[in-house]
Assembly symmetry: C2
Homo-oligomer: 540 residues x 2
């Protein structure tokens, strides 16, 4: 059968594999002699032989904090930066591959990745950097559509480099004064955009939307039963959480972790569901409405949900990890009408706003609750007799102790673009997805997975190769169709031309889920994707 | 009273505030005309006026993915890099301040940190970068001893810059092929060092030690009662966890979050404790032994603990967030004897190994358990018909969905130093702390908080200014002493000369907790710290 996933078969077919683009070399930098540049690195690198030099150790000790190593350190870092700059330019170039794909066992052989007892030279370190980037996926590539987080923003990247250099921790103002303030400023701005009066409320940046959602569930439980913190679940009645059918799997993961159990998560929510639960003696404590589901990009009706929550005193959480950013768009924010009635909102700027990974915010309407829920008063961090305003020591709000600085890249990008810049970027992605939808909805060989215009940038569709378009046996056709997307996807990765996700859902066989969050994508890239799917699927 | 924490008082005293070191300017880069350098940025920046340029937008659109913006983008990024390089060199310079401290309300006024609707020019972005670094704490500074994570490794930093540039996610091999392999290689190596046969087992890098510890507790519960995942805590008996008295607060945070409750965490562990719990009908399921407590740096007796765990079939976790790195040292690893008997180990390379933040590993002895405990089979990520070996799609082991790439910086540093390089670095820090201990243990004006030589680099001590050394009234003396460390610390921050942590503990009044993990620190820096404490505390 032609669908067997062997590498040989992926590479042969009716179509020719396009000539591999010539590997771009980073601009040549090893000119003879010392460069006369006036930069801070002093450009002495032309005279440096990295293969004789080591980062640390007693002999040939080279980098800071070694003595007299300032210029040498800068030369080494500049060399790394040159590798990165070349990679960045290459990533945006449509003539380069999105990925130079190799199977895990192949990739393990392609470089010496093992860790050794002895140090490697700085030359080996530079080689390792180049090798790592060679086999990395170019997430900035204009034709990379594989995840909800795509693209690479230059200001965001610069900010992340600065964050790494500052190398500190968010737990106290003492060790992260500026970043703590910027988190404060940015969370307030986000709450204003949600629509909470004067931007009041609380919040935190957490390591991803799944953790933000888990925080929300934790807060909802604590709000209703504060004794759970000390006494555990044995002190509270049996709890029930509601979420929408297509909600993110993190709601169930959270329920499992928090000791609530996945069976207590009901994937439906209306008056009848709540009454049914109440009649059984359970306590409905949490609803997670989804603003932009992962697969279809659908928005739950937040106003209707908030009415039920209000009536039964249930915590209303909005998982806007994917769709929350539409709040930045005057044209699209109506899709989240009612979000201002929520008790908490997850909003991931690392998705639709293209902030470098990770950047996820949980916004909470009630002030002080996070602190009460999570604080343990560790006296080695949160000394009560410090000489500054202790409300800026925000670390005890979190489950994490150390917390990575995720704020600066968002703050600096917001600064660079302004709110209107983010709006324009988001509106453009939605335009591109509408273009894709219009292009394929009546095109021969395509079937849409759900009816009507997508609400977000998610366009879900089947591509039917000519050979199966007119199959009479529906079951046979379905069986074939199920195998089409995986083969096309595998070929995309083999050729490295583009990447888009696929999946089955319920009784629906494998379909493509196209999402657009990449600010580098254009109408031509959408055209290319369609042509590529047809080219790679022609013989299936 | 001289102890009032007003800014005015902090700045006056018997001692003169040293002249502020002249602010170092980043090397001058705006030479007239275009630089003739052959680097990839083309060095055209001398000709660029950033104040007229914007990152995005319709007018003066400047950076990638804008058309013809390769060279311009490189020029901008190079400008940022030059700022960072200058900051790095400055950070290691003992003549610069560790921190240019300002109170939160002051700092809010010192720059325009607000977010606007309109974009700011790239010149403003560069100014924002400089301002952020001006008020940041120099965590690389040789005299920064404030946290368990200090120092800045140049190879680790380069690796983190590369990680930001690659900007991807750890959930699948598909989008992070190299990083997933490197995580595999590194976790295996760490398990070998722990002493598990052939490095077999499981593990994951998580956002910090608190989360790693929480994972361990989650796994322990699931191992004993797998039904808890679906049915929650109402399906299991009342659980009890044990931990050592001085264990990290994350054990209680985890118990609160997981619905176990902080009252079910007993801060003691021996045969009698377990029997007492069993007699009450509770189920002891988890012990967290600490290898290197946060404050004293003490190591629990792992072999004795493992004997009890074995007898009663209790999951043995070792929280080696701080002390785990001593496993790299042939001289000190005996302190963790018995760690190979643990079911799980937390080990944070971002602490004692000076890997940039964050880098925390949870190692697990049993293979497959993490997957079973946490997986939810999201079909949009973990498609079962992909064309490669699915065991490399490790994302479903985690509570997180998206997971930041924390592995590359550790892997590249390990490569650059070799195991022996890490060992030398760790041994040196322990030597420094022994030097400090020997220096002050019999010195006039010092009292040690605990008896005997520290096991880790934690040296805990009181400094008694001359005025209170001979106070007869013990209570009065204690009351005074309690206020000494906070004032000296506040003055350290005002002067910016050094930083070290202090805290109270139980009935012990505020003492200094000195920890050394900074590879840049020397014997002279230890001498300086003592002189500085005496200088700043003389009048108290």
């Amino acid at each position: 059968c032609c669908f067997v996933m062997s590498k040989a078969l992926l590479n042969v077919g009716e179509v020719e594999k396009p000539a591999e683009p010539a590997a771009k070399q980073p601009p040549e930098t090893e000119a003879a002699g010392t460069c006369g540049c006036n930069k801070s690195c002093n450009c002495t690198k032309a005279a440096v032989v990295f293969s004789d030099l080591y980062s640390t150790g007693t002999q040939a000790c080279y980098l800071l904090p070694a003595m007299d190593s300032d210029a040498k350190t800068m030369t080494f870092l500049q060399e790394v930066v040159d590798i990165l700059l070349a990679y960045i330019v290459e990533s945006f170039d449509r003539d380069t591959k999105v990925i130079d794909f190799h199977y895990p066992n192949e990739l393990l052989q392609m470089n010496n990745w093992e860790l050794q007892g002895e140090p490697a030279s700085l030359d080996d370190i530079l080689i390792s950097c180049r090798a790592t980037l060679k086999y990395a996926i170019k997430t900035a590539h204009p034709r990379y559509f594989n995840q909800l987080s795509t693209g690479l923003d230059m200001v965001g990247l610069a900010a992340d480099w600065l964050t790494s250099t500052a190398n500190t921790n968010m737990f106290t103002y003492e060790v992260a004064p500026v970043f703590v303030l910027l988190e404060y400023v940015t969370l307030k701005k986000m709450r204003e955009i949600i629509g909470w009066p004067d931007g009041r409320g609380d919040g935190i940046f957490s390591p991803g939307g799944a953790i933000s959602n888990m925080y929300a569930m934790l807060l909802a439980r604590f709000k209703m039963f504060p004794e759970v913190k000390e006494k555990g679940m044995s002190s509270v009645p049996r709890l029930v959480a509601f979420t929408s059918e297509h909600s993110h799997f993190s709601i169930k993961k959270g329920a499992a972790a928090l000791g609530i159990g996945t069976e207590s998560v009901i994937s439906a929510f209306n008056y009848e569901d709540v009454l049914f639960v109440l009649l059984q003696g359970f306590v409905p404590f949490f609803v997670s409405a989804t603003a932009g589901t992962t697969v279809y990009g659908a928005f739950d009706p937040l106003i209707a949900i908030s009415d039920i929550c209000k009536k039964y005193n249930i915590w209303m959480h909005v998982d806007g990890a994917w769709g929350g950013s539409l709040l930045m768009s005057r044209r699209h924010r109506w899709k989240l009408d009612g979000v201002e009635r929520a008790n908490s909102v997850t909003w991931n700027p690392h998705k639709m706003m293209s902030v470098p990974l990770q950047c996820s915010a949980l916004l909470v309407r009630e002030e002080g609750l996070m602190q009460n829920c999570n604080q343990m008063h560790a006296c080695y961090l949160f000394q009560q007799d410090k000489h500054y305003d202790l409300s800026y020591d925000t670390g005890d709000k979190a489950l994490q102790c150390g917390r990575h600085v995720d704020i600066f890249k968002l703050w600096l990008m917001w600064r660079a673009k302004g709110t209107i810049g983010f709006e324009a970027q988001i509106d453009k992605c939605l335009e591109l997805s509408e273009y894709l939808y219009n292009k394929i909805k009546d095109r021969e060989g395509y079937e849409m997975v759900f009816d009507g215009k997508p609400q977000h940038t998610n366009v879900c569709f089947w591509y039917l190769p000519p050979g199966i378009r007119h199959m009479e046996d529906k079951e046979e056709r379905k069986k074939h169709l199920h195998k089409v997307a995986p083969v096309i996807k595998a070929r995309m990765m083999e050729y490295g031309t583009t990447m888009v996700s696929y999946q089955p859902q319920g009784d629906k066989v494998n379909f493509f889920r196209m999402v657009i969050s990449n600010p580098a994508a254009t109408f031509q890239d959408i055209d290319f994707l369609i042509e590529e799917i047809e080219r790679l699927g022609l013989d299936l």
